[in-house]
C-alpha cells in the first residue's frame, strides 16, 4: 500500500480513513489506525491550542505515548512496563488475569481519555473535533465486541489513564498560565542577557522560565546533560562572540534560495504548526505507516520519542535560563547594524542552546535506534501549508538541518546549535536506554 504523507494533514483524507472498517482487520491493524487517527488529531490540537508552546506540547506527547504503551503492553506483542524506569512512575494497573480484552477498544478508550486530559484547554473547535473523533472511532472498534469484553477493556484503559494522570499532576508542568508567560520577571542586568525582542505585549516576559524544573522522564535530572558556557560575551570584533554574531548577520544577508527553504521548513512556529516536537512526531508517524507497523510498535515508538522530546525541552530550558543569553537580533542591532532583521520571528526566551537543535538531536538518537541509523526518509510534514517535502539520508542529517535552519533564520548563533545537538544526543541516550519492547 502506498501511504500518502499528505494524509496526515487533510481533513477529507482523515474522514475517509475513519470510515474504513477497522473491525475485521487484524487486531494490530485496527489498533494502528486508532493510533494514527488520534495522533493526527493531536498534531492539530497542538497547533490550535495556544498554550501548546513546544515544551508544553512535548509533555503531552510523552504522557500520551506512555499511556498507549502501558495499555497495550499486557496484550499480544506488548512490551515492558515503564514503571520503575521513569522518574516516580509507580507500578501501573494490570489487566484482569486470564480475561479477554480487546486491544483496539482499550487503546481507543485510553487515547480518547488521554487526549481529553492532556488537551483539556483546547477551544470549542478542538473539543468538537475530539468528540467527533471519539464517536467515529468508538463506533468502529466497538461494533460486534461482547459487552463484558467492552466493559473490561474500557475499565482497564480508564485505570491506566487515571494512574498516569495522577503521576503527571505532580511534575510541575501541569499548570501553565497566561500562555506560559510569567506575571513578573526580572531581567538579568547586562548586555549579555536576554531582553524582549518583539512588540507583542505578552512576550515582554520570557516563555516558561521555570520549565527546567519540570520533572524529567528518563533522564535523572533537568541538568543531567549540562552544557559548557557559550562563548564569552564581547563586542570586540576579534572575539568569538562577535564572530558568531557576524556569521549570523552575513548569512542572513546573503541567504540562498535553499537556505531560505530550510529555514522555513523547520520554522515550526507555535500556533501556526504542530511545533518542533510535533514535527518529529509527524516524521515518525509517516515511517510507521510506511512499514505498516502494528499498534504495539506505534505505541512503543511514540512513548520513546515522546519521552525524549519532553526531556529535551526540560534539559534545554534548564540551560537556557542558566545562561540567559542575548538573542542575535538584539546584539546585531545594537553592535553591528541597527536595521538588521532576521527572516524568522525570534522566539521569546533566551538563546542558548537552540531548543530545536536539542530536541532534534534527541529525536534523531531515538529514531536511529528505532528505525536504523541509515534509514532514509522523506519529510512531508508541512505539505498542507504549501511547503514542499524534503528528503533526508538519515535522521542525523535531518537533525543537523533542523539545527542550522535556526542560523539561516537569524535566531541562533552557531554555538547554540552545535551544542544543542550535542545536548540532544546526550538526552536521547537516556530514552534509548529504556526497556520498552519485549
Amino acid at each position: 500500500m502506498t501511504i500518502s504523507r499528505r494524509g496526515f494533514g487533510l481533513g477529507l483524507a482523515a474522514l475517509a480513513a475513519m470510515a474504513m472498517p477497522l473491525r475485521g482487520q487484524a487486531a494490530g491493524d485496527a489498533g494502528a489506525q486508532v493510533m494514527r487517527q488520534w495522533y493526527r488529531l493531536m498534531l492539530e490540537l497542538v497547533r490550535h491550542t495556544p498554550t501548546y508552546s513546544p515544551p508544553v506540547a512535548s509533555r503531552a506527547f510523552a504522557y500520551t505515548g506512555i499511556i498507549a504503551h502501558e495499555v497495550l503492553r499486557g496484550g499480544p506483542g506488548g512490551g515492558v512496563t515503564l514503571a520503575g524506569q521513569l522518574n516516580e512512575l509507580l507500578p501501573l494497573p494490570e489487566r484482569e488475569s486470564g480475561a479477554v480484552h480487546d486491544e483496539a477498544v482499550l487503546l481507543n478508550a485510553a487515547l480518547a481519555l488521554a487526549v481529553k486530559q492532556f488537551f483539556a484547554n483546547t477551544g470549542p473547535t478542538g473539543q468538537r473535533a475530539m468528540q467527533a473523533m471519539e464517536k467515529a472511532l468508538t463506533r468502529q472498534v466497538e461494533t460486534g465486541v461482547a459487552p463484558d469484553v467492552l466493559r473490561r477493556s474500557r475499565d482497564f484503559a480508564e485505570a491506566v489513564v487515571l494512574h498516569v494522570s495522577a503521576w503527571s499532576g505532580a511534575d510541575r508542568g501541569a499548570v501553565v498560565e497566561n500562555l506560559g508567560f510569567p506575571e513578573t520577571w526580572e531581567l538579568t542586568p547586562g548586555p549579555a542577557h536576554w531582553v524582549p525582542t518583539s512588540t507583542v505585549a505578552v512576550q515582554q516576559k520570557p516563555l516558561l522560565p521555570f520549565w527546567g524544573n519540570v520533572r524529567p522522564f528518563a533522564m535523572p535530572e533537568g541538568n543531567s546533560c549540562p552544557l559548557p558556557p557559550p562563548p564569552a560575551y564581547s563586542e570586540d570584533p576579534s572575539s568569538e562572540f562577535y564572530k558568531e554574531a557576524k556569521e549570523v548577520y552575513d548569512t542572513v544577508n546573503a541567504l540562498t534560495k535553499e537556505q531560505r527553504a530550510i529555514a522555513a521548513f523547520w520554522s515550526d512556529d507555535p500556533m501556526l504548526s504542530s511545533t518542533p516536537p510535533g514535527h518529529w512526531i509527524s516524521i515518525a508517524m509517516t515511517e510507521l505507516d510506511l512499514e505498516a507497523a502494528p499498534a504495539t510498535r506505534w505505541a512503543a515508538v511514540m512513548a520513546r520519542l515522546g519521552i525524549t522530546l519532553a526531556d529535551a525541552f526540560i534539559g534545554c530550558w534548564h540551560s537556557k535560563f542558566e545562561y540567559d543569553l542575548v538573542r542575535p537580533i538584539t546584539y546585531i542591532q545594537r553592535v553591528i547594524d541597527p536595521k538588521w532583521q532576521p527572516i524568522l520571528n525570534t522566539p521569546p526566551f533566551p538563546e542558548y542552546p537552540s531548543g530545536h537543535s536539542t530536541q532534534s538531536g534527541a529525536a534523531a538518537a531515538v529514531l536511529d535506534a528505532v528505525f536504523g541509523a541509515d534509514h532514509a526518509f522523506v519529510d512531508g510534514t508541512h505539505l498542507d501549508d504549501g511547503i514542499p517535502e524534503r528528503p533526508f539520508a538519515n535522521f542525523q542529517a535531518a537533525a543537523q538541518e533542523a539545527g542550522i535552519s535556526r542560523l539561516y533564520g537569524g535566531i541562533h548563533f552557531r554555538a547554540a546549535i552545535e551544542r544543542g545537538l550535542d545536548q540532544g544526543a546526550c538526552i536521547g541516550a537516556h530514552a534509548v536506554g529504556l526497556r520498552i519492547e519485549a
Binding site: 477551544g123 470549542p124 473547535t125 497566561n178 512588540t199 498542507d384 501549508d385
Partner: protein, 531 residues
C-alpha cells in the same frame, strides 16, 4: 517622502518624547450611562459553534430623522430592526419594528445604498445564503437578491465590504467566508473562498468571482491605503483555521482579474487571529492606519513609508498603548479576545479614540472569561489611555460586534456591544467636563454612490492636528455604520472641512460652524440640518 509624512513623523517623535517626560495631560473621560434595560433594545445574538463568530450591529437612518436605527444579527434567533425613538440629547429609546428583516441564521449586516435610489439597503450575511435587502422607505425592506442577480451562495459568511469602482453606478461587493461547516472532525485547513460581486452591464450583479485562496476571513475592508484613488481589499484572517495562510491585500488592476499583493510588491506576511478591522488616520500623516483585532496580539498598522508605494506596515500598538492584550480590570489575567473595533472621538477633543469589544470565543480556557471591553482615549502625544472602567463601559459579557455612533443626535458618540448568548448592551454618552465641540457630516451625491463611499474627509481645527478619514463600508466585526460622520474639534467653535470626492477630486476647504449637522454634496453649499 512627502512633507505631510515628514511632519507627522517629527510630530510623533516630539509628542512621544514629551510623553516620556510625563508632559502630556490625560484626555477628558466622558461619562456613559448604560440604558440597556430601559432603551427597548432588547435582543440577544444566540448560537453555538456556527455562531461563535459574527454577531454585529448595522446602524443607519432609515426614516430621515438624523437618529440612526439599529439592526442586530440574531444567530439562531431572528434578526431585528429597532427604530430609534430617542429624543435629541435624551435617553435612548428604541422600538422593535416589523420591517421585513426578521431573518434567521444572520451573522452580520452592513448598510449601503446598492441601487442608488437614495434609500439605504442592507447586505445581510448568514450561515447559509446571504441576502441583499432593498430599502423600500420608511424602514421597510424586501429581499432583492434574485432581482439583482445576487447569488448568496451557501457558506458560513462572516465579513463584508463594498466600493464603487470607477465608472460604476452600483457597488462592487465582497463577502468573506469562514470554515467549511461540513468538516466536523478536521475543520482546520477547510477555509472557503471569499467572493467578489461586480455589477453586471445589464444591471444587478454577475456571477460571484472567487477570491482564492480564502483563509477564513472575519473582517474585510475596501480601503485606499496609499491614497491612489483605487481602493484595495484588506482581508483579516483567522489563523486558527487556515493552513499556509496570512493576512491579505487584494488589488484590482484595471482590465485584469483581482490579484493579491505579493512579497515582491512589498507585502509582508502577518499571521494573527484576525477578527476585526478599524481604520482612520491616527498618526496624522494623511494615510489610513489599521487596527486589527486578534487574541492577545492586537495590531495598529501604520504605513511605513508612503513614498515607496509599497504596502509595508509597522506595528505601533505597543508604542501607542493599544495592545489591549489582557483584561485591565478584574481578577482574570488571562489574555484577551478582541472582536469589533472602531475609531470614534468620544470626547470630541479632535483625536480619534478606540472602542474595542471583547469576549471569550466559547469556553476557551487559555483566554479570559471575564474580558472587559476597552475604551482607549487618545492623548495629545498619540498614545492612548484606557478609560473603559472610568467611563462605565467595561462590559464583561461575551462581546462580538458593536458600534460607536451618536444615537441621540447630541454630538456625543454612544456605544453598542452585541454579546453572544447575552443581551445586547447600549450606553448613552453623557459627556461631562472637558468635552469638546463636534461636527457631524453627511456626504451626499446625486446618484450612484449616494453616500460618497471612498471619499476622504479632512478637518482642520484650531490647535489640533489635521484629521483625515476615509469613508468606507466594511470592516469591524459583523456590522458597520452608514450615514453621519462624527468628528470632534476640541475647543474650536468651527473648523475647515475638505472633501475629496471619489470621482471628482478634492473640493474646496469650507468653514463650518461646530456643534452642528451638515449635509455636504459636491459643488454645492453645505446644508445645515437640525436634529
Amino acid at each position: 517622502m512627502n512633507s505631510a509624512v515628514i511632519f507627522a513623523a517629527i510630530l510623533t517623535a516630539l509628542l512621544l518624547a514629551a510623553a516620556a517626560k510625563g508632559e502630556t495631560a490625560d484626555p477628558a473621560v466622558p461619562g456613559f450611562a448604560e440604558e440597556t434595560a430601559t432603551s427597548g433594545l432588547d435582543h440577544t445574538f444566540s448560537g453555538e459553534w456556527t455562531f461563535m463568530v459574527g454577531g454585529g450591529a448595522a446602524v443607519f437612518d432609515c426614516n430621515g430623522d438624523l437618529k440612526p436605527e439599529v439592526f442586530l444579527a440574531g444567530g439562531t434567533a431572528p434578526a431585528q430592526l429597532f427604530l430609534n425613538e430617542s429624543q435629541t440629547g435624551g435617553a435612548l429609546h428604541f422600538a422593535a419594528a416589523e420591517s421585513g428583516l426578521e431573518i434567521d441564521q444572520v451573522s452580520g449586516a452592513w448598510p449601503l445604498d446598492i441601487d442608488g435610489d437614495g434609500i439605504t439597503d442592507l447586505a445581510v450575511l448568514r450561515v447559509g445564503q446571504d441576502r441583499l435587502m432593498r430599502g423600500l422607505g420608511d424602514c421597510r425592506f424586501e429581499d432583492a437578491s434574485a432581482a439583482w442577480g445576487f447569488d448568496g451562495l451557501d457558506l458560513w459568511s462572516t465579513a463584508f465590504a463594498a466600493m464603487w469602482e470607477k465608472g460604476q453606478s452600483w457597488p462592487t461587493l465582497a463577502v468573506g467566508s469562514y470554515i467549511d461547516r461540513t468538516q466536523e472532525a478536521f475543520p482546520w485547513g477547510s477555509c472557503t473562498p471569499n467572493h467578489l460581486y461586480r455589477p453586471a452591464a445589464a444591471g444587478g450583479y454577475g456571477a460571484p468571482i472567487g477570491l482564492t485562496p480564502g483563509f477564513c476571513a472575519l473582517s474585510i475592508l475596501f480601503t485606499d491605503w496609499n491614497r491612489s484613488g483605487a481602493p484595495s481589499l484588506r482581508v483579516s484572517n483567522d489563523r486558527e483555521y487556515y493552513k499556509g495562510g496570512q493576512e491579505q491585500l487584494w488589488h484590482f488592476p484595471p482590465g485584469a482579474p483581482p490579484a493579491l499583493y505579493t512579497p515582491e510588491e512589498g507585502w509582508a506576511r502577518l499571521r494573527i487571529w484576525g477578527m476585526g478591522i478599524a481604520q482612520t488616520d491616527v498618526t496624522g500623516d494623511g494615510y489610513p492606519d489599521y487596527f486589527l483585532t486578534s487574541m492577545a496580539d492586537n495590531k495598529l498598522q501604520v504605513l511605513a513609508d508612503p513614498a515607496t508605494g509599497q504596502p509595508q506596515f509597522t506595528d505601533q500598538a505597543f508604542k501607542r498603548g493599544v495592545t489591549a492584550h489582557r483584561p485591565f480590570i478584574g481578577d482574570d489575567k488571562r489574555p484577551s479576545t478582541a472582536w469589533h473595533a472602531e475609531f470614534s472621538d468620544v470626547n470630541n477633543d479632535g483625536r480619534a479614540d478606540l472602542y474595542i469589544v471583547k469576549g471569550n470565543v466559547w469556553d476557551m480556557p487559555d483566554f479570559a472569561e471575564k474580558d472587559p471591553n476597552n475604551m482607549l482615549l487618545q492623548r495629545e502625544d498619540g498614545t492612548f489611555l484606557e478609560a473603559a472602567d472610568l467611563a462605565g463601559v467595561a462590559s464583561m459579557a461575551e462581546g462580538r460586534g458593536g458600534a460607536a455612533v451618536d444615537l441621540n443626535a447630541d454630538g456625543l458618540p454612544d456605544l453598542i456591544s452585541v454579546n453572544r448568548n447575552a443581551p445586547t448592551q447600549v450606553w448613552r454618552n453623557t459627556g461631562g467636563a472637558g468635552m469638546g465641540h463636534f461636527l457631524s457630516l453627511r456626504l451626499s451625491q446625486p446618484q450612484g454612490n449616494r453616500d460618497g463611499i471612498g471619499a476622504i474627509i479632512e478637518i482642520r481645527a484650531k490647535d489640533l492636528p489635521l484629521q483625515t478619514h476615509e469613508v468606507t463600508v466594511g470592516g469591524g466585526h459583523g456590522g458597520g455604520n452608514l450615514g453621519w460622520q462624527h468628528f470632534g474639534i476640541g475647543a474650536a467653535d468651527s473648523a475647515e472641512v475638505r472633501i475629496t470626492w471619489p470621482d471628482e477630486g478634492a473640493g474646496p476647504w469650507q468653514t463650518l460652524a461646530g456643534d452642528a449637522f451638515w449635509r455636504l454634496a459636491p459643488q454645492a453649499e453645505p446644508q445645515r440640518e437640525a436634529p
